[in-house]
Symmetry: C2
Subunit: 283 residues, 2 copies
Amino acid sequence: MGTTRLLNVHVQKYSTHAPSGSDKKHDTDTKAVSSYWGVTPPSLTKVDGSAWKWNCFRPWEAYEADTTIDVKKHHNPVTWNDKIAFGVVQALKYPTYLYFKKKHIHHAVLLETVAAVPGMVGGMLLHAKSLRRFEQSGGWIKALLEEAENERTHLMTFIDVYKSKWHERALVFAVQGVFFNAYFLAYLASPKLAHRITGYLEEEAVNSYTEFLNDLEKGVMEDIPAPAIAIDYWCLPQNSTLKDAIRVIRADEAHHRDLNHYASDIQCQGHELKEYPAPIGYH
Amino acid sequence: MGTTRLLNVHVQKYSTHAPSGSDKKHDTDTKAVSSYWGVTPPSLTKVDGSAWKWNCFRPWEAYEADTTIDVKKHHNPVTWNDKIAFGVVQALKYPTYLYFKKKHIHHAVLLETVAAVPGMVGGMLLHAKSLRRFEQSGGWIKALLEEAENERTHLMTFIDVYKSKWHERALVFAVQGVFFNAYFLAYLASPKLAHRITGYLEEEAVNSYTEFLNDLEKGVMEDIPAPAIAIDYWCLPQNSTLKDAIRVIRADEAHHRDLNHYASDIQCQGHELKEYPAPIGYH
């Protein structure tokens, strides 16, 4: 459970410097366009004064993961709702293990492209509902969109140490096409079923990261330095390794597991999500 | 242009207190569910020590709007892309003015239920693209989702001082059904067209808030105290009125106008959004 950390960063007045990595022509274009609309990205610095290099999250969104999680926590499927959700995830799990076997990073990449979908779909549908009904969501829109962003950052961590093959990219493309639409329909039809599916999906994510960690610890897989994005996102020490990154990613997944089972429980008890303030910043 | 303010708030360790407004039975349910999953919302306090009452945004997301905007800024439609976008918005604008006439708050409510859609749709599609292509979005996912959240907070401000009629709720329902899907398809087909449409939509939002302000200033409409959510979201003085809230809301719309025209310009020049760091926190 991560408390949100307010880092001591300097949010400077938006400066007019051109984005990095751009060539001369590009620079001129940027300036011409941005000077007309007056839109320029913020120039952020780290506590040590060096430039902040990520656009996908800001220094004060970095956090120290709470790794004191129960990796075995499981929601026992009792009702039909639970059993359907559990069955769906089990049916997805076995072919995935068969396909990837011990290729943990490849497995993790596919997992994250799937795990980043439910939060976005749920957040979007609750946003539309909030607008339609003129009512607050109780913070659940933000909590679910944060989950999606967090999962996307996991993916961004892996792609730094991963070279994808064409058939893996094709698989991700196909899986997203099916899963995005299927989850969208499931959430429309039954949000409590959808959250339960995500809860079970996250239980499996925790399991697969535990296997990943075991193989790193046993030396079956060689450990490597942690990607720079992981060090900045989870406030890890500079000499951290992939093992440290996997440990915090697994903690995030455990928190998403709890949040989604909780969201399903609320609705299974006949309540609406908005009646229960969402645990924002919970990962 | 708002610099993000880091307020001096106390983010306590997640406490176990039950959500406010719950009855005794509800309390027991909450505790039973949350204690099993260990999920409880954060307990936040304002700088003065009083409890933070909003779940839809956190104290450090409040900001002081930069109201030094050019309310007349306009993108001259030159290309076919521009002309189609301009035509779409003009076609939507006239019936809206005919329907609402001088009922500014009713008009504003409909406007906000529409204006909160593009950011969510764009953010979602860029998120899916980022996952599918294993690439960073350059911060545009976050920037667009922030726009959607900002527009939703405008709506939450108005519903505090607004009593909707059944035919207005029916209208919002119908408009959302059509606009959400139409904008989704437009963004899939041509993001530069979609961002241009939003740019023009925001130009009209600025115009309609200017008329609203004029009528408040002329005394055609009675000014009333600003809703509590507006005071906390835009860090307004306690004695602020609706006029002050409209002024900051108009500034937000002007910033969204600039951001969306900028996003369209980038793509009209043959670049991808991800090449240009997004102006996160820009409203």
